[in-house]
Amino acid sequence: MHFIGWQYNPQIVSENVDTFKKLYDENVEYELVPGEYHAIAETKLMAGQHIDMMYSEEDRIVRWKKAGWTRTLDGLPGLDAIKASMYPVNVKDMSLPTGGLGGLPYYTGFNSFVANEKHLDAAKLQPPSTWEEFLDQCRKLKRDKVAEFPYISAWGRQWASLSWSLFAIWYSEGAKVFGANFDPVFDEPFKKVLEMHRTIYRERIIPPDVFTQQGESVPNFATGQHTYMVVHDYDQKVFNTPATSHIAGAARNFIMPGKTRSTFVWTAVYQMGAKPVDEMRVWNLMQFFGGKAKDGQYHVARRWALEFGLGTPYKEVIEDPDVQKSFSVWKDMKIATQQLETATTRDVAKAMWFPEWDWFMMGEVQDYIRGQGSTDELVDKLQKKAAEVKALYPE
């Protein structure tokens, strides 16, 4: 069996593969795909490489299924029980609009609003509840020389960076971004968020090199130079670990500011290749990685949760006292649960054309933030692009 995955702790993945091989007396070849994972994976799939199981973000579930590279899990034994053991929001996230589960979960995450409490104490501030208040606080932090650049987030042109950060803030402000039939809804909240990003950059609330920072700007926040960050929830573990951070113990999660206080939640999955070498053997592999193994243990999900802070849709794992205890060390579980309850899934990711629009959007928004063109011009470009890519993939 052949399994491919992106570059997140590949040594752990390798060890998990070894555990599976021993447990099932199986043979699996694990291939690490470094760099731009989805683009490279698509090239491999197009070229006809045989892949039995592959990592994917939710925005590739429909796309890869329609291209004939992957299959749904319908009809496989025990699927209903697996679905019942997960949170409904994640099941929805992994399902195709037409029904059918597109994969089993690798992990689930959401963009969290994290603050450096040392700065909040120094400036005697409470975390903001609106984005206007957030801007005012950042100006004050800058003026009082508490932080030269109070805010930071991943703004690079990368699938897990600017787009995820923007969508989290759009949802927190009540922007739908895409409505019924995935038509663009680029309304006032949508524009307001874009303008706020431009203001943040113009007023140097964010470092000017934010677009080119490495590691999704996580090492930058860990230096302790910044006050606020919209960031993947599991990165808070990095901030609160003394070996990797200057602000260990002081990075605290709060509810996102904004009108709805929502955020963006996603579920990354393991998809099964359209022509598995042996359906049942690959199903075993998928269950081991994306669920419960034959010995009744959540080997992989539990390990990711305990060692790296990755969330999982499985209630049993999340409610496990060891996991709860481990998470509580580095994040406020009550706030995290509250944030998840209001989080929004990005349904438009199920449109086949979405990744192409998303890539275009990031480039254009970067130029806009740097001062090129007006908001209306940007919105116009984004609308035209949505129409153009939609036309490429008629339903």
């Binding site: 329609k66 090199d209 080119t212 480039g363 993939y393």
Partner: protein, 355 residues
């Protein structure tokens, strides 16, 4: 005396060529032996090349598996686009800067490494390290060095008291672009140095000795002897580095991702975006084919510029075998800035000085 010598050399060369031509006519066996290798090369290079040409003449969508023949439409649509023109300008600028600076720096490094001094062997090894590193590693490494929050460069400058606050090196589009160019030169200049050094070491020492005896200074010897001697390898370096610079991708991918915004979007990044992010392989292929045109033109221009006499020899049907030039040839092809009458004894090549 000089004329007699030159006549003899010409007669010998003509005889040699005639023998070679006779052998070429008769001996087809080596070609048969090479055929399998040539076939493999064709399959590996030729087939994808032909396939990509065909691709560039279609509008395709791999996901929906639609192939529509559009002729030259992809090329015609790309050419007038503003993003294409901007990427072209950036690519040209990047190639010009990196080739020129890399060449000067590489030659300078080779000249130093060709001198005798203690620790020369170690330094020769150390100089090659940047070139031995994978460009992706180089990009990540320099990305960290230039980072405004925790970068080593700011740390060093702050510690030395040269700056009072961190500089966000990659924050400005123009600065980011020039810094990528600088890193590229750092990565590639050792290759130039290595090639030049190899040629410097094969240069007969008596050329410089004779010039030194005649009172020629270091600069004069460099421009009149060393540089003409390096001409063939400089041509090779120029062609290689120009093509590499135009095709450069890894550093942009790791250091800037074509950003901020589109500030470092060069041709290769644009082609990558079209082909692998938008899955428009046809347009991507067309963009990258347009990229090969300046590469070919520059290669042709370089060879004309460096070897005009060889070109004219070819036109006259005299073969055109690229040989290390004789002293007389070097003297005749010396750069315009050194075209003053040389010492009388140089004008008549001596047997001992000829290779």
């Amino acid at each position: 005396m000089a004329n007699t010598l030159l006549d003899k050399v010409s007669t010998d060369a003509a005889l040699e060529m005639a023998v070679l031509q006779r052998h070429e006519r008769r001996d087809w066996f080596p070609f048969f032996l090479s055929l399998p290798a040539l076939l493999v090369v064709f399959l590996i290079i030729g087939v994808p090349l032909v396939y990509s040409v065909v691709l560039s003449l279609h509008r395709i969508n791999i996901l929906t598996k639609q192939w529509i023949f559009v002729g030259l439409d992809n090329y015609l649509q790309i050419l007038p686009q503003a993003e294409f023109i901007s990427a072209l300008e950036r690519t040209a600028y990047f190639a010009a800067i990196t080739v020129a600076v890399g060449l000067v720096l590489g030659v300078a490094m080779a000249l130093v490494l060709n001198m005798n001094f203690p620790g020369r062997g170690l330094l020769r090894g150390v100089v090659l390290i940047p070139w031995a590193m994978a460009p992706v590693t180089v990009g990540v490494l320099w990305g960290w060095i230039f980072d405004g929050s925790y970068g080593a460069l700011n740390g060093l400058l702050l510690d030395l008291g040269l700056i009072d606050r961190p500089i966000h090196w990659l924050g400005d589009g123009t600065a980011a672009f020039n810094l990528v160019a600088l890193v590229y030169v750092w990565n590639q200049a050792p290759l130039t140095a290595l090639l030049v050094l190899a040629n410097l070491q094969s240069m007969p020492e008596n050329l410089h000795k004779a010039a030194r005896i005649d009172g020629a200074g270091g600069l004069r010897r460099f421009f009149s002897i060393t540089l003409p001697w390096l001409r063939p390898v400089l041509l090779l370096i120029l062609i290689l580095t120009t093509i590499n610079s135009i095709m450069a991708f890894d550093l942009f991918w790791t250091m800037t991702r074509g950003g901020p915004g589109s500030a470092t979007t060069v041709f290769s990044w644009l082609g990558y975006s079209y082909a692998f992010q938008f899955l428009r392989f046809a347009e991507g292929a067309a963009i990258l084919y347009v990229l090969t045109v300046p590469c070919l033109l520059l290669a042709w221009a370089y060879s004309r510029w460096f070897f005009p006499s060889v070109e004219s020899q070819r036109a006259a049907g005299s073969g055109g075998l690229l040989k290390q030039p004789s002293l007389r040839q070097l003297w005749d092809r010396r750069p315009y800035w050194s075209r003053k009458p040389g010492p009388a004894r140089w004008r008549t090549p001596r047997r001992s000085l000829q290779r």
